[in-house]
Symmetry: C2
Subunit: 196 residues, 2 copies
């Protein structure tokens, strides 16, 4: 949003954005939806408008679930103190992890387990800062692809291919369409035998 | 937001809100965070400002996880065609369900199972409309409590009291603080014996 204000100016100079801080810590520190996704999706939708936003935001969401965070680039930026911040909570290079989920709870837990850092550590907080930079950068990549007319959705959701044919948004309750979802099903559910 | 524009005017008349449609279907139809929470939290934070928003938004989130939706009031409004819409996907009185989660996936699944309606049915879609009305109304209740200086956080998160002492945001990895979260732990996790 700062870049839009600088490069384009009006109407982005009129738009308050501080209120988006409600996304912090997975929405008011409840560890629900990752705030990096929430903020990026808001900015993207504001720019893209009502006809084009959905497929591009959805691509960002799916990409998020399958990308190792922090990226090599953001690790390097932190090591070299090249981010636009004065103080670093840590400038170490961190291990990366893939969340297969949009949730702060899952994303943080997987990274803590991969790295050995506690959830309340400065390193975990720094990791989420780098992740946010990675997501903001990818949002710009996707917006530029759209502007250049070469956007193509390329990432599937992490939902299990075996589950979706029955357990998805639809009108057939008996088939299993009493749900909707695009997270990784087996993160929370135990697979069952499929009746043929 | 429409009420703020009508009753207060500037600066709310300057604020675009169409972009918040990205929250639809749990964010771009991915069934992650319920869009009713996302939209209400955005409006509340915009009004409350940076010093006061968090505890009040968090109260809304926790209230959401424990409230039966749709409420009796919104069922009655739909039955009597008193909502500000011209067409109803259904004007039947629905059964209600409590989600114990902020997630569209969980909220929709629990209601489909309670009601017997499929996730892609008009009734499910109408149910989410009524839920959104209920959440918007509660956001106004909480904002008015704050304005009247009698806001008090009264709802705990649905996280299990047994889990939180070890598995929460903190600096002690070995104790179990490699995670953060305020959803209902046992929705996805199997409880283990606690070592004393």
């Amino acid at each position: 949003m700062d870049s839009l204000r600088e490069k384009i100016g009006f109407p982005y100079t009129q738009m308050p954005t501080d209120f988006m801080t409600y996304g912090v810590g997975g929405l008011a520190d409840t560890a629900s939806l990752c705030g990096a996704i929430n903020g990026a999706a808001a900015a993207m939708t504001l720019v893209l408008g009502k006809d084009d936003w959905k497929k591009i935001v959805k691509e960002l969401v799916n990409w998020y679930t399958k990308t190792p965070f922090p990226s090599d680039i953001s690790n390097q930026y932190a090591k070299d103190h090249k981010f636009l911040v004065e103080k670093y909570k840590s400038d170490k290079v961190f291990v990366s992890s893939v969340s297969r989920s949009t949730l702060c709870h899952v994303s943080v837990t997987k990274w803590c387990k991969a790295s050995g850092y506690a959830s309340g550590s400065d390193e975990r907080s720094e990791r989420c800062g780098r992740l946010t930079a990675d997501v903001a950068a990818q949002a710009v990549v996707l917006l530029n692809q759209f502007a250049d007319k070469n956007f193509k959705a390329v990432t599937a959701s992490p939902a299990s291919a075996e589950c979706v044919p029955c357990h998805s948004l639809g009108k057939d309750y008996k088939l299993g369409q009493y749900t909707r979802g695009e997270e990784d099903c087996v993160l929370c559910h135990t697979p069952h035998e499929i009746k043929k």
